[in-house]
């Protein structure tokens, strides 16, 4: 009986280890994907601003409509912040939206910096200028995407096996 419980416990530990590894590798693969989505969002925002001359609250709303997951909520929240009665500035609305939604994404500090920087610039200049800022942000994100993809390739498999193996290691040590 005692042996049985021990075995079940050991299986649990191995399972947990594997899951932890899986989660980490999933995060690694989600990051480049979300960066790619962000790039698409910003490109769409650029189209709305430069060619559609859509006012920012509506432009952000349109971008949110085309996005999915945490990015959708991010743009949605920013748009809502601007449309609210108590007129917040773009910077405030954006920072608030970032604060409540960023943690749901798999993106890291570097991307966050790019996004925050963008929030201080959106809407406050002419179209040409807006286009430049958005293009720059897209280029920066593309750089991050490459790095993230590289990281995923290198560490993705490692995390998966590391999770399983560490689970096994703990079990061995316990026995």
């Amino acid at each position: 009986m005692k042996c049985m419980i021990k075995l079940i416990g050991a299986l649990c530990i191995v399972f947990a280890g594997t899951m932890l590894g899986m989660y980490q590798s999933l995060q690694l693969s989600a990051r480049p994907r979300q960066i790619r989505q962000s790039i698409q969002c910003l490109q769409r925002l650029e189209t709305e601003i430069v060619y559609g001359v859509t006012p920012l609250p509506q432009a952000l709303h349109a971008v949110a409509g085309a996005a999915s997951g945490p990015l959708r909520s991010l743009f949605e929240a920013a748009s809502r912040g601007l449309m609210g009665k108590e007129a917040a500035s773009m910077r405030e609305a954006w920072e608030e939206a970032m604060a409540s939604n960023w943690s749901h994404t798999s993106m890291k500090q570097a991307e966050k910096e790019i996004f925050l920087q963008l929030g201080t610039l959106l809407g406050i200049s002419d179209r040409e200028d807006q286009m430049k800022h958005l293009k720059l942000a897209v280029r920066q994100l593309q750089g991050e995407e490459l790095a993230a993809a590289e990281e995923q390739k290198r560490y993705g498999g490692m995390w998966r096996s590391l999770g399983l193996l560490s689970g096994v290691l703990i079990v061995i040590l316990m026995y």
């Binding site: 859509t54 007129a87 773009m90 002419d126």
Partner: protein, 332 residues
């Protein structure tokens, strides 16, 4: 009155204006924001500088001085966070916000090929409150009416700035469109076309007028006057065409075109008297050819919308309706 524009004021400024005495708030005409200089309000014909506690003073020394941050924020709110969608407005120097309030802008201009491309570093704002004063046109309408043709004469409203030109012609549009003629004419409205280059006359939001300009009125919003008048003539068959502040050569040409098409025109122009208008090269032609059958002269000293005189094409005054003998009145 002031609460209508307060949604565009940044929190700091709103905190100051909200403490103003009710009397000043109700009669406010302009709020003038200048970066680093005293906040000013023009109301009921006078002006004052606003102190941070909401009291008004004639001296600028202790007044609240809007900061750079205030001005940036104000511009952001006025443009709905989208300065890029107001490039044309920034080129012309004013923004019209919801409700028809016009905000004049001053600052450092950016040139391109020797022409103003836009205003950057906007640091001066003149927020003018639009007001819809119904029935201001009632006193004028009988005097510009062409009773035989059951419409109005070609009319030019002449007035210095801030004397109520726009308010008056907006109300005339409404009265003519509703057919609110003086009692002895059957109430038949006319098709009215408004060319509203600065979105001031009808205060359109996505093309739909926010002011009551009458049921038979079409509005061409944000359209250059001359082009808009031609478009209206070609497509909307108006019977009366209403434009604000004509003054350029092409405006005069379009007015002439409308008149030849049998459309009655009510236009306004800056000036103190019809003679003033005669001095302006673009309008001189129109005046000399006696195109306009009526001149309405407004002035500020006779209250808010003071009709100083209504003159006919030859400059003879048209008396106010109550002094017209009943025999003449019966002619309509």
């Amino acid at each position: 009155m002031l609460e209508r524009i307060e949604e565009w004021l940044p929190p700091n400024l709103r905190a100051v204006t909200s403490r103003l005495p009710a009397k000043v708030r109700d009669s406010a005409e302009e709020v003038r924001v200048r970066e680093g200089r005293p906040l000013e309000i023009v109301y009921g014909g006078g002006y004052g500088f606003l102190n941070a506690d909401g009291s008004l003073g004639p001296l600028p020394d202790s007044a609240y001085r809007p900061s750079r941050e205030d001005c940036v924020r104000l511009l952001e709110l006025l443009t709905n966070h989208s300065v890029y969608s107001f490039e044309e407005e920034l080129k012309r120097g004013f923004i019209t916000v919801r409700g028809g309030h016009r905000v004049g802008l001053a600052g450092r201009t950016v040139l391109e090929h020797g022409k103003v491309k836009q205003i950057r570093d906007v640091c001066g704002f003149n927020i003018r409150l639009a007001r819809e004063l119904k029935d201001t046109g009632k006193a004028v309408l009988p005097r510009i009416m062409d009773a035989e043709a059951r419409t109005v004469h070609h009319t030019l409203v002449v007035s210095p700035p801030q004397a109520g030109k726009t308010t008056l012609i907006r109300d005339l549009a409404r009265l003519i469109s509703y057919g609110s003629w003086p009692s002895h004419l059957p109430g038949e409205g006319r098709k009215v076309g408004i060319v509203d280059e600065r979105s001031e006359l009808a205060a359109c939001e996505r093309g739909v007028p926010r002011f009551d300009v009458g049921p038979r009125t079409d509005v061409m919003d944000g359209c250059p006057k001359a082009e808009g008048m031609m478009m209206m003539i070609r497509s909307m068959s108006p019977e009366v065409l209403i434009v604000d502040e004509i003054g350029r050569e092409e405006d005069a040409e379009a007015v002439r075109e409308a008149m030849h098409a049998g459309i009655r025109v009510i236009a306004s122009a800056h000036g103190r008297s019809p003679e003033d208008i005669l001095k302006r090269p673009a309008l001189r032609g129109l005046a000399e050819e006696e195109f306009f059958g009526r001149f309405v002269v407004l002035s500020r000293r006779l209250g808010r919308i003071g009709v100083e005189a209504v003159l006919d094409a030859k400059g003879r005054p048209i008396p106010a309706p109550e002094s017209i003998p009943s025999v003449v009145r019966g002619k309509g």
